[in-house]
């Protein structure tokens, strides 16, 4: 299958390893990956902060870049939720553009979050990964409540050989990232992060994983600040790792 990758701005600039891992997994499964160079950002930061006119500009850019793509894969739950769930709002209520609304609604069924593409579009649960570490999984809010991915990502993790997967207590609660919330309401965000880290540390895991590097940047930043020794790793990187080629 030809797969168009929307890497997201955070992964492109700060977590390129996640993008390389996605490419490795998809190619290993026999798919052809393309990366449209005109892509930048889905507009989520502007949208969630109230800068809706700027966000509309990025919606138009996304639509132009990906309108001919058959299948669009995004290794981020929040960016996928933005494209599928919020583009129609922006087209209808901000741009007030019928044509744009039709375009984003027509495109939505072709947009998949990375784990969703594997489990729901391809029907896979075992992607041949090997990862000999103790891991706990943080289900991001968008995975749970916007995309309704349910147990999909966990199913993929359960089929990774060598993994010691431990359940994260209170795993439906937000980690406190919330985009610019983490800066505007830094103290409340920190209080939420502290409780999330407490739960992560209680599992004894070496690695906390998730399908979204924005949650992980926040959680990992806290774990690093506290010198916990626990690291955050995107789900794609765990799935990319094999016995022959462990993911660095």
């Amino acid at each position: 299958m030809r797969v168009s990758l929307f890497i997201t701005c955070i992964n492109d600039s700060l977590f390129p390893g996640t993008g390389r891992a996605v490419v490795r997994v998809l190619e290993r499964l026999g798919h052809q990956v393309e990366f449209p160079l005109a892509q930048t950002c889905c507009g989520q930061m502007h949208h969630n902060s109230g800068y809706h006119d700027d966000a509309v500009g990025l919606v138009r850019r996304f639509v132009e870049t990906f309108q001919d793509a058959q299948t669009i894969v995004i290794p981020s739950t929040s960016c996928t939720a933005m494209v599928r769930g919020q583009y129609p709002y922006l087209a209808k209520h901000v741009a007030k553009d019928e044509g744009l609304l039709r375009a984003v609604e027509e495109m939505a069924p072709r947009v998949f979050e990375f784990s969703e593409f594997l489990t729901q579009k391809l029907g896979l649960s075992d992607v041949g990964a090997y990862y000999p570490h103790r891991v706990t999984y943080h289900s991001s809010c968008n995975s749970l409540r916007s995309l309704n991915l349910g147990d999909g990502p966990l199913t993929l993790l359960r089929h990774v050989s060598g993994i010691d997967l431990v359940e994260l207590p209170n795993n439906r609660e937000c980690c406190g990232f919330g985009g610019t919330f983490a800066v505007k309401n830094a103290e409340t965000s920190t209080a939420m992060l502290t409780d999330k880290m407490r739960h992560i540390l209680s599992t004894g895991a070496e690695i906390c994983t998730a399908g979204d590097n924005s949650c992980l940047m926040h959680i990992g930043g806290g774990l690093s600040r506290q010198r916990t020794g626990v690291r955050t790793v995107h789900l794609a990187q765990i799935l990319a790792s094999t016995a022959e080629e462990p993911w660095a």
Partner: protein, 466 residues
């Protein structure tokens, strides 16, 4: 005076007693409501029905309100229309004075808090007594409620004992801090008020247009006392609370207790229609309040704010509310629903920080008994904050720069190059432990990852060249 949520929240975060009370109470109530909503096989259908009834009522609000007025009047009640808080206060003060009394008993009502009725009554020489236990505590302590349904959730029993000792006269003398003793004292104190007071003021959970019936649900029985013992009953209700048909109560009397307190049914469900000779109050007045609601109704996205039945389930599942506490919202409406109601009632200039008091985690939308899409409305209101010019100029500038950066691949590449150069000064062990304002909020508690030397795009392009 404008509400600055981050500062108010910082106080709440440092309030050890409140943090513990809230974590314990919200956790307990989450468990209870989850259990009693899961046990109903048609809970989802009930939620949909609740939403549909509210949509229907609001789509023809003028019709149903006029019908309500007609039916209440027919049953011997009187209807008063109040465009705003000042009008509502004036009506209620006038009616109370006309009854020739200098004190009133009150049933827990958020609408009377919204119109700031108590100070207006006091100014007119009328003493209002709250009769809901927690509201009475908050009133005696001269504080503000911190939770829609559990207004004194921030206080512990020792604080309450000291308050009762100071404020309840003989009933408070030598009181212990045991909950049964506290309850007994409150009961004895309140019975006296119920017996000697001639005017009661209540809110209303519902009013039925078809029959002119008004309803209040409660747990303590103080409401039933207020609704039946005094000679004059004055009820105030936001215009959005009207229901078309009596049958609609079958939906809401299931939704509300299960979502609110985790009970299958409220202990007290009071419904009354006008006045009846020889039974209950001699006079019944219904004050219908707009106070900005019609304006909310005109906003296509935000209008479902008015579906709210004040169950407070969104507060109980909100990770921000649980930690920041109710006083951070500076309003009688707290938590996620407060973050969308208050800015719409009081304006974005005053309450523009409230729509940002959320990580948009969606827990509120997931459990709302009438399916209000609170995260969507929060984002919608943020858009209005920016459009109406209430965002900081520094932030607006930064967002503009970011938009241009993302609008052009070359600009993005250049920004990454500049970022890699700039971070050299700040980098320690591959991370950035300190960032300048406004990003210093991030580094309050988190290291920031350093930009790697090679972006994904660089890697991809190199790979394609091979």
């Amino acid at each position: 005076m404008s509400i600055h949520f981050p500062t108010r929240a910082a106080d709440g975060l440092r309030n050890t007693q409140q943090r513990r009370n809230l974590a314990k109470a919200t956790n307990t109530i989450r468990g209870k409501t989850a259990k009693v909503t899961a046990e109903l096989p048609d809970w989802e259908a009930l939620r949909d029905a609740g939403k549909a009834i509210k949509q229907e009522a609001h789509a023809r609000l003028d019709h149903y309100l006029l019908q309500l007025e007609e039916m209440v009047t027919k049953a011997g009640g009187q209807v008063h229309w109040a465009a705003d808080a000042a009008e509502a206060r004036a009506i209620i003060v006038r009616l109370t004075k006309a009854a020739g009394t200098d004190q009133v008993i009150k049933i827990k009502s958020m609408t009377t808090d919204e119109i700031e009725l108590n100070p207006a009554l006091e100014e007119a020489g009328i003493r209002p007594y709250e009769t809901d236990l927690a509201d009475m505590i908050v009133q005696m302590a001269k504080e503000k409620p911190s939770h829609l349904l559990v207004p004194a959730i921030h206080k512990n029993r020792v604080e309450i004992r000291d308050l009762f000792r100071a404020e309840m006269g003989e009933h408070g003398t030598g009181l212990s801090d045991r909950p049964p003793d506290l309850t007994r004292a409150a009961r004895a104190y309140l019975r006296q008020k119920f017996m000697e007071t001639r005017v009661a003021i209540s809110g209303a959970n519902f009013a039925v247009a078809e029959t002119g019936t008004v309803g209040v649900v409660e747990s303590e029985g103080n409401g039933r006392m207020c609704l039946t013992l005094p000679q004059v009953l004055i009820s105030i209700m936001g215009i959005e609370k009207v229901l078309p048909r009596f049958d609609d109560l079958s939906v809401f009397l299931q939704l509300l207790p299960r979502a609110a307190t985790g009970e299958r049914m409220n202990p007290y469900n009071s419904l009354w229609t006008g006045v009846h000779a020889g039974d209950g109050p001699r006079e019944f007045h219904l004050v219908l309040l707009d106070n900005g609601r019609a304006k909310i109704l005109a906003d296509e996205v935000a209008r479902e704010t008015l579906h709210c039945i004040r169950c407070s389930r969104c507060l109980n599942v909100c990770p921000v509310y649980e930690r920041a506490g109710g006083h951070a919202y500076d309003s009688m409406y707290q938590g996620p629903i407060g973050a969308i109601v208050t800015p719409q009632l009081r304006g974005l200039e005053e309450a523009g920080s409230l729509p940002y008091a959320s990580s948009l985690c969606g827990a509120c939308h997931e459990v709302c008994p009438v399916k209000i899409n609170i995260p969507q409305i929060l984002v919608h209101l943020r858009g209005r904050v920016v459009r109406e010019g209430h965002a900081g100029t520094g932030e607006a500038l930064a967002m503009g720069v970011a938009a241009r950066m993302f609008g052009n691949q070359g600009a993005l590449d250049w920004s990454l190059w500049a970022g890699r150069l700039g971070q050299k000064l700040l980098m320690r062990d591959g991370t950035l432990p300190w960032l300048p304002p406004p990003l210093s909020g991030w580094t309050l508690s988190r290291d920031f990852p350093a930009l790697p030397a090679e972006s994904f795009r660089d890697w991809w392009q190199k790979r394609e060249e091979k």
